[in-house]
Structures are given as structure tokens and as C-alpha cells.
Amino acid sequence: MKKQEEQFARSLPENLVRLKNLFGDTMDYLPRTFRVGETMAALITIDGLTNKQTVAQSILQPILAAPVLQLTGQEKLCYIRDHALAAVEQKEITSLQMGLELLMAGFALLLMDGASFVLAFGVQGFPLRGVDEPSNEVMQRGSREGFIESLQMNAAMIRRRLRTPKLRFESMTVGKESRTQIALCYIEGKVDSALLQQIRKRIEKAPLDHTLAAGYLTPFLHGSGIFSGVGLTERPDTVCGKIEEGRVAILVNGTPNVLLVPFLFIENFQSFDDYAIRPSFAAFARYLKLFSFFVAMLAPGIFVSVCTFHPELFTMTLLMKVAQAQIQTPFPIIAETFIVQILYEVLREAGLRVPRSLSQTISIVGALVIGETAINAGFISGPTLLVVAISAVCSYTIPSLYEPLALLRLLFILLGGTVGLWGVFAVFVVVLVDLCGENPFGVPLGAPLSPFSRRGLRDSLWRMSWKKMAGKPFLVQHMPGSHVKEHEEDGEN
């Protein structure tokens, strides 16, 4: 049975005491009491979340000037709602919980002694980062706008691009403590209702105390596996494109990242630029990325396994070069490659975390001092460094897959050096099976390649011209092997 929500009392002192008890002595809780005629009133705000000038000029001044001397508290509040502040964004609330949520979202609460409800005024005035180009998804020919931390602004950026009344933003709250506002964004009629229901259920059931980033929700939306079935973007145009295909975007207040569900593996190789350039080059770029993915994942592992177990696979010239380089280093090739790989990851992590002014120093130290000196000193062989560097560069072409790639690379190195190509192939099958699996919503991760769909290929391995794609949407629930509705029947995992 649903728990009865706590309501505001009619007595102002009682309400103030309850709020005081809830907030304690926190410095940013600002209750301001005053009289409206003979009736006591209070305006509650949280310091830093409201615009003080707006509060003074647009809220307090009209209230104090209102001709309400002869009325009761309830009538005064009704007059303020309907006449004095009719032009201000306002909400009439009775629930204490709702009042607290609005208060902490930057609303000002007006409490009047003897009134049965409370008025909340939208006077938000906290500093926001300006709309900027997303640093993680740089495009050549698309819009330069990226999401920011405000949910409302992000929603507006999507609405500006999709001016259809079918666009929906469904508000939800997650996090028992943080009470973070999120919004499910989709296009009515394009999204599968069962999919939407599944997403709602999973988010509602997420036992989170705090939701400080979009990534907090990801584990509740994708099942077990190496590759994620949840996409992440900072671009409003990407979100628009995805929800047009029947996906659901999840906007989380306080983060510029938007989650996209369900997300196919092939989408990691797509970028918004693909749709703004010629299809032939877009296809070429996708093949490059696909090739880079395999090189980034397998090259170091295969190199180690071939050097250790199957040197006969090298041609004689290549074998001599590798052997010559290898003979001068003190470590076995598996240890050497593993160390170089770890060193590279350390440098990358350092480059990400240090202040920008130092990142160039890190690059110089990493590339020149460590790299060149290690080779000159004979600690590391040139071919090993080359293979690791090539795989690192390749992994940057598909940044969304960096995390699984980094770990798989290490696993392939370890197994390639321990049991040779047999180990590499064994893990490769595991990767393939994982790719051929499906996300918890019943959409195959590997579609439209596995299971195969010729129609689905039009925007996967190659990108067809807009002449052919326009007006013929291919929704994600129509992917081969997709059975979202069955999941609904089966219930949760």
C-alpha cells in the first residue's frame, strides 16, 4: 500500500518548525518571515539556487503591495496566486515532500498562516555553464552545441531540433537521497511501448541513494557482458537521430551526458558527421573504424603469441627484425608488452587527470623521455613499442569502446603469451558470443550483422544516400531477432 504523503499544515509556525527540524542549522536555508496585512507569511529559499533580485522585485514587492488587508490567509494566498503573481511561474502544492523537492530545485516557497496550500515560485538563479562544443564528440560538419548540466536546457535543445508534438519528456526522480530529476525522452508512436515500460521499471527499481552522473544508471539498463548495450552522447543532434529510430534517451539533471537505450554495437562506429558527408566516405570511415577496432583489440595479443609460440607465421625478413630487436631486451616478450601497455595506460590516465597546462609535459615525458630512452637503454624493443602504439592510436578512433578494449587488450596479451594463438582464439570466441548476445530489452547487440538484415545494413556497414533513407525509418525494434514484447511477458531477469 502506498505510504500517505506528509502534508503542509495550516499553521505557519508549525510548518516553519517542521522545516527547521528538517534542515537544522544549515547556512543556505533562508526562511524569511513577514506580514501581509495582519497575516504572518514566510518565503523560504535556498541560498545560491535562486535569483535574489527576482525574489525581491518579482515576488516580495508585488506581495507586499497587494490590496489584501481584509482577507483571510487562505484568501490572501488565492489572491496572490490569481492576481498579484499571476504572471510568475508558480505551482500550488500541499505535499511537504514536493515542497522540499521544488525548494531544492531553486523554487521559492510562499507559506501563509491559515492557508491550506503553499505556493512555489520558479525563481531559479544558479550559475550554469554556457552551451559549448562537446569536447568528447568533436564533429566537423554538425552543430557545435553540446549538452550542459541543466536538464531543462538540454530538453530545450532537443525540442528546438524536433518540433513535433509527439516528442515526449517523461519526468522521473532517482536516488533516495539525491532525488535527481531525470527525463525519458522519446517520440510517441516510434518508441516501442514495451521497451519504454521496461526502461521505466528498471529505473524505478534502481536502489540508488545518489545519482550524480548518467553512468550511475547504466548498470541497471544493460545486462552482463563485455560490451554495453547503453550508449552515451553529449550531442543533442545525435539524441534526435536516435530517438527518431525508436530509442529512448535518458537525460539526467546535473550531467551533460545522455544515455541512449537500446544501443547496438555497430553504433559505436557511427558518428554524426557520417550523415553530413558523402555516403561513400562515411562508409569508408566506418570500415576504418571497424578495422581499427580489431587491430586495437588483437594486435598486441597476436604479436606476443606469434613471437612466443608461432614464429613460423612471420616471413623470414620480419622474423629476423623482430628477433634482432628482441635479443637486446632483458624481458620476455609477454612481460615487455604487458609493461609497455600498462605504462601507456598510466600515461593516458595521467594525461586525463592532470591540469591542462601540464598535459603537454606528460606527452613529452611519455613519448620522448620514456619511449625513446627505454628503447635506447635496451629495456624495450622497437617492434613492441610500435605494436602497442598502433593499437593505442587505433583505439582512439572508437572512443566509446575504449574501456572494454583496454581490458581485452591486456587479456589477449596475457593469454597470447601464455598459451599462444589458441588462447587468443578462445577469448575471441567469447567476444564474438558476447557481441551476438542481446541486451536486457531483447534487442540483439550485433544487429543488423548478426542476426543479419539486408535492410538494416543501409546504415551500418555502409551509409546509404538520404535519397534512399529519407521517409523510410528503420526502427530499432524492427531489427532482426528483436523481441522486445516477449521480454515484457517474461518479466525481469
Partner: protein, 364 residues
Amino acid sequence: MEKTEKRSIMVWQLFVWLFLSRIIILFTVNAQTLGGENLLVLAVSSVLSMGVTFLLSLPALYLHARWPGKTICEVGQAAFGEAGAKATALFYMAFFLIADGYYLGDLGLFLVKETDYGSLAWLILALITMAALYCWHKGLQAMARTATLLAAAIVVGFVLMVPIWIPLADPARSLPVFYEGIRPLWLGTAALTARSTRFVVLLFLLPDTKGRVLRGFVWWNLGVTAAFVVYLLLLAFCLGEYGAAMSYPVYTLLQLFSYGPFARLDAVFTGGWVMVMILKIGLDQLIFFRCLRVWFPAVRCRWAVLGVILTYGAAWLLYQNPVWHNQVGSTSFFLPVTVVALTGLPLVLVAVARWKERSRQHET
């Protein structure tokens, strides 16, 4: 996992998967195991074996036609009650354990005999069984899709390699087909039929498929036989008697392969062998677990590890003891076991279940 198991795959996916599993079994046999030193006669044997296995599979096909949604264990239940279901499940658990143990042990023996890294065989086999467990965890559909991708890659690779081997081929290298008389033909047919363990999978997985079974069955057998005949012809014409004397002739054939920068694809072949073995054992683990559920309906998924441990144990025992391995792999052992599993037991169960069904119909 349970949810994944409920879903079905297409008939062609199952047969592509079985094509892959059977091809890898057939490509790793040698002339001695198949009873003779003439590779060409084995090509004829494979065609004969195709006919024999079709006849042997009739009970399985009838079972599916009569009760499309029932596995052999459920038919066992219909015929002899719960005890019948449990006994059937136990038999097939043992069957798949022995078959997988043997084929995995074969890979272990190959690593010991043919490569310099035999000391790592235990680790490679452990890795294969663990990977198979992960495949089982991802479910029937994921495995079937992976098998399709792998089959496409292997078939394309094979088709591209054949033109490179053809210039090396010389029919004069091989013996005439019936040089050693007619006996090798029968021995080869029996040996190939004994290795038709994959047909038994049909008794369990046909209820999970959608599509036309008979057409898929025919194409599967034609495909496997055609690929095997091409392979035997290549072996016979490229390697001649030398190939017939090899324990792993395909490995030798691949060692001869050379085209531009590509050479010595033997290691790549072993990789392919490993990949197919993983999917094959993954599929058998799925059946093993279903049989386990006949005994313990509430058994939790984590107990699937039991099947993997037992398979690994069997493989380890067999590759450590080549004499046992030979005995288990001999036609005199494998043929009766396969015939009972594929034909004997299903025939009895189908007959009794049908008789009981008719009796009930008469009563009503």
C-alpha cells in the same frame, strides 16, 4: 539464462552450427582411424555414411514430426514416466560427456604430439571449457549467431584456399579407389557413422527451432559430405600416401599452404579448431544442463559448472592416456554407442510412447 533458453532459433542456424561441428570433427580424423590407408575410398565412404546416418536419424525426425515440442527426455517421460525421463537424461548426459571428452582429448593429444607446447595442453583445454561455459551462459541464440559468423568465415577461407592447393594437386599421387579391396569402404563407412555424434543433438534441439527441418537436414548432410569429399580429394592428390600416414593430415596440408605473405596457416587452423570446439562444447553443455534439470528441476544455473568440470576431467583422462583415447575413439566402441543414442533408444521410446498414446485414445 532460463529466459534465453525459452527462445528458439531458425532451423538453418542449428544446421549451420552442426555443419561447423561436424566439419571440424571430420577434418581432424586420419586415414588409420577411419580404417585404411587410402584417402580416396573414404570419399566414397562419406557418401555411403550420409545415407546410413539418414536412415539412423529417422526416429529423431519422426519424433520431431510427431511431437514437435518435445525433447527425447519428455518422450521418455511419456513412455516410462519420470523414471524413464531420468534414465534417458542420464544416458544422454553420459553420451555427451564421453563424446566431448573424446574430442577435447583429441585436441589435447594433438597439442602434445604435433606441437612443441604439449605441456600447456591442460591449460588450453581448461580455457576452452571455461569459454564454453560462458557461451552457455549467453544462451542458445548467441551461440547460434556466433556459429553462423564462424561458419561463414571458415567456408570463405576454405573456398579461397582451394584454388591455391589445386596447382599442388596431382591425381597420380593417390592410390586407386578400391586398391585395397572393398573392406576399407565398409570400415570407413562404419567409422564415419560412428563419428556422427552430432546427429544426437537433433533429439534435444529440434523443438527449439523454427523452419523446415527436413530441408535443413538434407542441405546440412549434403554440405558436410561435399566439404569432406573436397577435403579428402585435396589430401589424396596433394599429399598422396604421405597424407594417409599422417595423424593430422589437415595440419600437414595447411603447413604446405603458401600464398604471398601468407604461409604456414597450421596455427590458424588450430585456432579455428579451438573456436569450433568451444561452440560445440557450449551447445553440449546446454543439453547437459537440460538433462540435469530433468533430475533436479530446481537446479540453479551455477551448477552448469558441473558439466564443464566433468567434460574437462574426461578430456584430461583421455589425453593423458592415449591407449584409453584410442579405445574410446575406436569404431567398435563409438559405433554402437552412437547407434543406440541416435536410433535405438529413440526408437524404443517413440514406440512405447506411441503405443501408450493409442491405448489412451482407445480408452477415451
